[in-house]
Amino acid sequence: MSEEADKTPPAPLGLLAELTHRCPLRCPYCSNPIALESREGELDAATWGRVFVEAAALGVMHIHLSGGEPVSRRDLPDIVAHCAEAGLYSNLITSGLGLTQALVERLADRGLDHVQLSIQDAEPDSADRIAGYRGAHARKLEAAQWIVATGMPLTINAVIHRANVSRATKIVALAVELGARRVEIAHAQYYGWALANRAALMPARAEADAAWAAVEEMRIALEGAIVIDHVAPDYHARTPKPCMGGWGRKTLNVSPSGKVLPCHAAETIPGLEFWSVKDHSLADIWRRAPAFNAFRGTEWMAEPCRSCDRRTIDFGGCRCQALALLGDARATDPVCSLSPHHDVVGRVANRDSVSDAAYRYRAAPRSFEKA
C-alpha cells in the first residue's frame, strides 16, 4: 500500500446498515446486488448493537437502517434502541410495507429519529406496477399518516425513471400533501438490479431535462414548506458525482451478513478483499481493510484524473460505474466529459431510452410469495 493509504483516514459520518436483503417489493431500480444474501446469514440485533457502539466511537453520527426492507426484521425495535443507546441518529429507510400503526409508535418510542418512505409514482396503478405489488401505494400513504402522527420527520423518496419521469412534480406535491418535511427526487442510478433493468428504466433525455427543470422551480416556490433534495440523472451529466463523497472518506456500508463495503455496489468490483464485523472491529476495517484502501485518496488515479483540478472534488467519480460502463474500475468515470470514453455514456443512454425491454423483477423471496 502507498504511504497515503497508511495515513489515518478522516472519521466517517454515516453508516448504512443493510439489515436484510428480504423485501416484499420488487422495484426494478433496486440497488441491491443481483446475488441477494439469505435470511440465515443475517447478523442478530446484539451484533448490530456492538457495531453501532464501535461506529459511534469511530465518529459516525447517522445510522441508516436499510435493506431490503428493514421492517422484515421482527427485532427492528431492538435494533433502533441500540442506535439510541449508542447516541446515534437513526434513519429508517422503508417501503412502508409491513408497518402497522402500533409498530410505528413503538419505533418512535424506542428513539427512532427519522423515517424515509419510498413511493414509486404519484399515480397508484403505475406505482404498483413499478413496485411489482398490487395495493402497495395505498399502504404507503397510510404508513405516511402514521409516521407524521408521531411527530417524527418524514422524508418521501422517489426514484425517477421512464415510467414516472413525467410526474416528478406531482410526486413533490404528494409529499407536501402527506406532511413530509423533506422529499428526495432521485433520478435512477444504474447499479445492481437497476443496471440489469437499465433498458427498461432509461428516460428520454428531453423528458429527464424537463423534469429536472420543473422540480428545481418547485424548490424555490416551496422554500420553507419542504426541503427538496434532487439527485441528477448521471448519464446526462458532464461532471461525475463524487460517489459516496469519495471512496472510504465519509461512509461505510454493512451488508446483512456483516461484510463491510465502501459502497453498496463495491462487491461488483473484482479482486477487492472485504472484511467482516464478525472478524474485525469497525475501526480496524475502516483503517486497514484492503477494500477501503483500494481507491482511497488520489494515489490510485490515472490520467486524466491524476492531474485534474477536480480530483479532490469528485474523486474520479464512481468506481462501480467505470466498471459497469468500461469494464475497468480504475478508469475515470466516463460520465466525466474529460474521459476519453465519455461518448459511451450518451450512446448507451440513447440506445436504452428507446428500448422496449420489459422489467426484470427481482424474485419474490419465499416468505413473501403469498403476501
Binding site: 441518529y89 420527520p153 418535511r181
Partner: protein, 95 residues
Amino acid sequence: MSAGEDIPASARPHLPRGVKLKRDEARGGFALLAPERIVRADPVAAAVLERCDGQRTLAEIVDDLCVTYRGERGRIEADVRRLLADLAAKKMVRL
C-alpha cells in the same frame, strides 16, 4: 429587510423532533443532526441553539446571550435572527 427581522420577539424557537444538537466527540465542537444533514455548529450557533428549548422567547434568548457574552444587543439580536431564519427555511428550527 434583513433575514429574520419578521420573527416576533415572543416566538419560542425550538428544534423539532428529528433535529438534534450533539457534541461531536471525534472532531470536536458541535454538530446539528437532521434528516440526511449534518451541519457543523460553530460556538456561537451552538450557544443559540442550546437556548432554543421552546420555553424561552426570542427576546429572552437574546437577553441571556448579551449577559453571557457581554456583546452589543443589536448585533447579537441580528445574528440570532439571521441564524434562526436560515435554519427555519431548512426546517431545522421551528419558530
